[in-house]
Every structure is written in C-alpha cells, then in structure tokens.
Amino acid sequence: MDLYSLTLHEAKEMLESGDISAVQLTESVLARMDAVEGTIRAYITRNKEGALEAARKADSLRSQGKAGLLCGLPIGIKDVLCTSDLKTTCGSKILENFQPPYDATAVEKLKKQGAVITGKLSMDEFAMGSSSETCAFSVPVNPWNTEHVAGGSSGGSAASVAACECLASLGTDTGGSIRQPASFCGTVGLKPTYGRVSRYGMIAYASSFDQIGPLTRDVADCALMLRAIAGFDPKDSTSLNQPVPDYSSSLKDGLSGIRIGVPEEYFGLGLHEDVNKVVKKAIDMLRDAGAEIIEISLPHTEYSLAAYYLIAMAEASSNLARFDGVRFGFRADDCSSLDELYRRSRSLGFGQEVKKRILLGTYALSSGYYDAYYKKASQVRSLVRRDFKEAFGKCDLICSPVSPVPAFAFGETSKDPMAIYLSDILTISSNLTGIPSISIPGGFSVDGLPIGVQLQGPHLAEELLFQAGWNLEQRTGIKGKTPDLTGAI
C-alpha cells in the first residue's frame, strides 16, 4: 500500500508502532504531489522543504516520547488561514505576496500537535464561490473527473485529500464551502458549531457565518482533527468556552434511540435524481443502524438563501474594506491622492465576483435600503433559527443532501449567473443558525461523480454527527474508494 493513501488514524498507528517514519510518510505524499499536482492543481503554495523539516522534527519528538496528537501527519491548509512561514493569498491578486506575521489559531494548534504542513490550498477568491473557479491562481479540478469542478470555496482542500496530496486538510465554511466540495470530491467534511473553532487568523468573509473545519478521508480522521483544532481562544471573542471532548470515543456501532429527521423541503424541485437515490439509500442505512426516521418540515427553507446572501455580502462589504493598499497587499502605482490609492488598488486587486459581492453588500447596508434588505434578512434569519429549534424538538439529527446536484462541469454555471448561488440552498441554513453539519460520502452518480449525505445537529452536537456519520460510513460500502488518477501521472 502507498503511504500517501493512508488515513490519519492508520498512519498514526504505523508511526506509533515504528513501522514507518514521518519522513517516509511525508516523502510519499510529496512524491504523490509531484505526480498528480500538474493535473489536480489543488495547491497555491507547496511547502516541500518545510514539510520535510517538520517531518524530521516530528520523528525526533516521537523518539523523545513527545509525540502530539497529529505528530508527523501531512496536512494541507486552505489559503484563507494565516501561516507565519508560508504566504497567504486568499486566492486573490490583492494578497498575492502577503506573508502573515503570525499563524491562525487553528494552524498553530495543528503545529503544536506535530502536524506536517504540506502547503496552502486553492480556493475561490476570498472564499466567494462554489466551484473554486474564481481563484486568481490555480483552479483545482475534481479528481474523479477532471472536466468537473472540485467544488468550493474549499475546492483545493477537498481535491487534495481525494487525490492523496495530503492526508487531511483544513477548509472554511461560510455557506457550505467545506461540505459541498467534500460532497463533490467524495471526502468527509465538517462545519463545526459556530464558535467551536477559533477564527483568529482566518481572513474574514462573513464573520457571523465563517467557521473552520476539517476535510478527511473518513469520519475517524474528522473526529481526530476536530479534537486538535477545537477550543476556546481569547483572541476570538465569538469562540465558545466549552470543554473539547474526545470525539473519537463517539464512533460506536448502532444508532438506537436516535431520531433522524428528514425535511421534505430539501427534496424538492431541482434535486438531481442520482442525489435523491443516494440520500434515500443512506436514510435506509441509518434506519438499519437503529435510528428512528421521522418526517420534519423546515418551512422557511425557500427564503433562507436570499437571507443568507444579503447578510453574507453585507458582512463581506464591511470586512473587505481593510484591503486598501496601505498596510498590506497590492498597491496601485502612481496615485496622487489617498482616495485614488484606495480606489485603484481595490479595483485592480479584486476579481469580478468579489467586487459584485462588495457592491451588493454595500447597497444592502446603504441608507434607504438597510431596512428592506439587511434588516429584513436578519429577521428572516430568526425565522430559520426558529424552524430548526422546532425541528430539534422532534428529532436529534437532520439528514438531507448536501448539494442538489453532483459536481458541475467547468463553465456550466457561467451561463446562468443565478444558478451557482441557488445550488447552496441545502447548506446555508447551518451557517444562518450556527449549527454543526457534516458531509459523508454516500455513493456515486451514474456518471461516477461522488455524492455526499448531509447530517445537521443542534449546537455542539458534533459527537452525535460523528456517531451517525460513522455508522453510515460502515454501511455505504464505498469507504476507502479512491479516484483512479493513473491517467494524470
């Protein structure tokens, strides 16, 4: 077996027993990266030297009995998270040469546990998109079919894990940006409860939705990663001061006594037939595992997307004001006034999608429109929260598709500017409400594209998500299946 295709927990066991070294494991992953990266394009910045150095250090720490939870395990980082030793572009020309002076807390925690950082992963510019096509640098492809997108915005995070260019990765999720690419690329992807993982050092898109989470090859790895990155951080005033459980202990067989709700609104118009089939089959598997399946309703689903986009873009317009060509990032040449410097630096530095969202957000917050758009959307957010609160009175978890469709073909969404926004309908409610949500590989489309199954739970119910996700994973019969990339090598 090739070391690069191991899960984190398999590699961890082999490192612990001394069967392999962190250097051997890292060399295998780097060689795999060399072989497939020309096709997959998951990385914006590769960290070969740094990774080998970290692997040597990991081996040395292990020999001294000081191995952390992730000691010697090669992990990739979405390029939205600040790294003190690697430039952080956020997929944007405006940050092309940005070298952060510090690590994001989630990155610092990975490093503290001995992780080997393989590099910075490709993404939609400022995490604004659902296909990673807005990235100013390398646009990742779907390892299962290179004519299809990897999804987004954490497209590189999903593609790299699926193509074995790292064992696991970190992504971020503002409206589905971890779960949708995980679904498209056949990996596990978790958006934790809002506040579970510190956002310090994450370049903000929509601060009241943004959350960092892991993308992994299986549920056990996801539990391991969350344990490493979760926890209170005084540097993020929204981080939750709650103990971090040993998530791995929630991976146990059987779901008896657990009620799983199936929202009728999530199986409506526009749902691809193959997605419907895979998710319905997954629901049967959860029932076989002992769960009670009940029908529920989330009546404001059809309004949630409009509310989500108005709020996200409003928050983005405010967050992205910091990119002004003064303290960091791109600056336009030969500006004679400060105002001209702001305008030209921003106009030349930002891509079209980012400009669009800043404009709409500014409009939604502007005098005369605030009540009709931003305030209205924030009130509808309350209605969506109420829907979920009521639903969780009747069930413990909610099961649904992640995306209404499998991975789009490149360019497919450019014909209809609304299509790509509408495809986020099934993931955005977790962000509006701050609840945890996971995508588990459920099966494949007729064309061989992966399809994920989404499980959502109440605040801080990650253990329950892992338990149900793990039970599903044991029953799908596709665990360990990887894309055939021999053509790419």
């Binding site: 506040g195 791109f330 305008r343 305030k375 924030s378 957010r381």
Partner: protein, 95 residues
Amino acid sequence: MPKITEKEIEYVAKLARLELEPREVEKMTHHIGLLLDYAAKLQELDTGDIQATTHSQDISNAFREDVAFISLDREAALQNAPQQNGEFFVVPRII
C-alpha cells in the same frame, strides 16, 4: 421594488471605493439586479415584530482582564506594507 440602475451602482461603487469600467457597470447592474429580484422574495414574509438575529449563539459581550500583553512588534506589523519608512505606513500626501 424598482430595478437597480447603473447610476445607483456607480454611487455604491463610490461608497465602496471601487472604480468600474463602463462595461463592468453594465454587467454588475444586470447581475446585482438578478440577485435583488431573487431577494424580493423576502418581502412576502411578514416580519413585523420579529427580532433580528445578528449572531447565531446567545452570547453577548466577551470581556477579559484589562492587562497589558506584548503585541506584534513594529517591524512585523510593517513587513507587508507596500510603502513604509521603518516607523509608519507611507501614503500619498493628504493635506
């Protein structure tokens, strides 16, 4: 609600410190118009006395002890500046 106009997009661009080419104004007006048409759906809901949610968790202020700590040193804070003089960020003359 009336359709957003090119003039309004130009005004919003000014507020957001963005300069748009004429063809960008046209495209943005069209695309943002589509998004706003879609958002008009929200007006169907009566939200009269509903409290707005700005945060998904029920937490209010996060206080900490008021103690001094070492922050980023000056050199590190200036390291990414397009123009600086070792002490300050340098911008075009303001007055």
